[in-house]
């Protein structure tokens, strides 16, 4: 386990009390807290380096551009991107996937073609494909899950028989914590000629990610789920795919020359970064990456697996609690979704909040998954490097209190 007490000292917000209790922040799959080094990097950027990037001829603007491009190189190395120019900064995972659907998808998917997603995809890796398929008259196929919350490989195989153009799935499920066998799924999809889009929102913060080893084609990530600022994120892609794709947004920065009635476009990645970018976000994200690298993602993953295993063990001891997702330890990240008898997840979240415990209650932007689990909502605790076993105990203790408050009697 990591030295949580030492790490927590790096995060000013975690020292706060909530409703008179020490803050127990267990909603890290939604967003993470920020260490002082990230806050400092953002403030320092504005204090010493701020100017618009890629435009100014003066030294300050050159330093701003260098900071922005250094952040890109840092992120590229962090996920072993094909090249720094294969990293397009976006507002986050959602925008990155919309970019793929709106540019690559619109250019390559035609009427009658197929796009494959899975029943565990977040709405952000589903709705953009729905929009694309509706526009093109293409077919969207959703791959089913096994009873224990894994992608059903036989159904995945059947979905590939129709030779879809695009196959999209998450590396880690935000609602179940399942870690999917990305390299294996990618190999199967490539064998039928599909392009693979991986939603990396929940994997990049927690696992050592190597997009070249995964061999996918597009990989989307969010900065704010990995200690970075909100509104930072990226699409990581094979440069040759980006080269061939039409622009997504039009505007400044993405052009090369502009005439009255048409334009030529800038080279990648700038072709996809219209307008003034979120330089503060990129700089803050780079600081977050430095922080994560210092600890090591293998150690972070190990720490979170231990917390998840402890939480599952504690929670399943409470009569009436059902935990969703794979039972094993190896293919599960630090996300624990559960229900407790007939106590609605929102009621659980309200009760836990009075003890300073922040969990998520709801459909987790995965309504097709909730339907398959036959629930409208679940409660979800999700861990990060600054959470400790004492917080797992606090969660279990508060749940017992919720049961008492509701007069929960096991059926």
């Amino acid at each position: 386990m990591l030295d949580v007490a030492r790490l927590r000292a790096d995060f000013p917000l975690l020292a706060q009390r909530e409703n008179g209790h020490p803050l127990v922040y267990l909603d890290n799959a939604a967003t993470t807290q920020k260490p002082q080094v990230v806050l400092d990097a953002i403030a320092d950027y504005y204090r010493t380096t701020n100017a618009n990037v890629h435009r100014g001829a003066y030294d300050l603007a050159i330093r701003a551009t260098e900071a922005y491009e250094a952040a890109r190189a840092k992120l590229a190395a962090f996920v072993n991107a094909w090249a720094p120019e294969g990293v397009v900064f976006t507002r986050g995972t959602t925008e990155a996937i919309n970019l793929v659907a709106g540019s690559y998808g619109r250019a390559s998917v035609k009427a009658g073609d197929g796009v494959v997603v899975t029943a565990m995809d977040h709405h952000s890796n589903l709705v953009p494909w729905q929009i694309l398929c509706q526009e093109k008259g293409a077919t969207l196929r959703m791959v089913e899950l096994t009873a224990d919350g894994r992608i059903d490989l036989s159904d995945f195989g059947r979905a590939l028989e129709r030779r879809p153009k695009i196959v999209a799935f998450p590396y880690v499920s935000n609602a179940l914590g399942t870690v999917n066998p990305v390299a294996q799924l990618t190999k199967l999809a490539h064998a039928v000629g599909a392009v693979v889009v991986v939603d990396g929102a929940q994997s990049t913060p927690h696992l050592k990610v190597d997009v070249q080893a995964l061999d996918c084609d597009f990989y989307a990530l969010s900065g704010h789920k990995m200690l970075g600022p909100m509104g930072s994120g990226a699409l990581v892609a094979r440069p040759e795919l980006l080269e061939a794709m039409p622009p997504y947004h039009g505007g400044g920065e993405m052009i090369s020359r502009v005439w009255d009635d048409h334009s030529s476009y800038n080279k990648i990645p700038h072709k996809f970064e219209a307008g003034t970018p979120n330089v503060e976000g990129a700089v803050g994200l780079a600081a977050a990456i430095t922080y994560l690298e210092r600890i090591g993602r293998e150690r972070i993953a190990e720490h979170e697996q231990a917390l998840a295993a402890a939480a599952i063990a504690k929670l399943t001891q409470i009569e009436g609690v059902t935990v969703y997702g794979p039972p094993g330890k190896s293919d599960r990240a630090g996300v624990v979704s559960f229900t407790y008898g007939d106590i609605h997840p929102h009621d659980i979240a309200t009760i836990l909040d009075q003890d300073g415990i922040c969990i998520r209650a709801g459909h987790h932007c995965a309504q097709p998954l909730m339907r398959r689990l036959n629930v409208t909502a679940t409660a979800r605790a999700s861990f990060y490097l600054y959470n400790g076993l004492d917080e797992v105990d606090a969660l279990a203790g508060a749940l017992v209190k919720a049961g008492a408050l509701f007069g929960y009697v096991p059926a």
Binding site: N19, D342, I343, H344, P345, H346, D347, T350, I351, Q354, D355, A361, G362, H363, Q367, M370, T376, A377, D393, A394, A396, G397, A398, V400, K401, A404, L405, F406, G407
Partner: protein, 150 residues
Amino acid sequence: MDTSPPDPQLSALYQELILDHYRRPRNKGTLEQATHAVSLNNPLCGDEIDLQLRVDGDVIKEARFIGRGCSISQAAASMMTQLVKDKSIPQALALADRMGAMMQGDEGAARDKTLGELRALAGVSKFPVRIKCALLPWNALTDAVQPPRG
């Protein structure tokens, strides 16, 4: 482990009466001769209600609902369907206003006997994110009898 007694605000929120309506909802089901129907959901948390009314003249003769959601939204729906029975539409809309005022922390509304059992929900006003749960059935009622224009 924390063995302190539950927070008094929580005990006020989850009163026996509310849990009773949650677990044994009154008027749950569908009406065969509904004159008004509306479906509402809260996209943020997934609470759902399908409300049906049988209105004769301007009097609500019967109200039934089907819904899925938290204890607050489901208890509020159950209590509301009892309260608006045999009320005129203007009376029902006035009750919706009183309910809204109670959720905003209006103590006069919280003592208003015309709200009947719904006064048990006064504690929701201390939990701002849950107010929308308590008002979901009332918003459905308002939409049903007074369809939004536009």
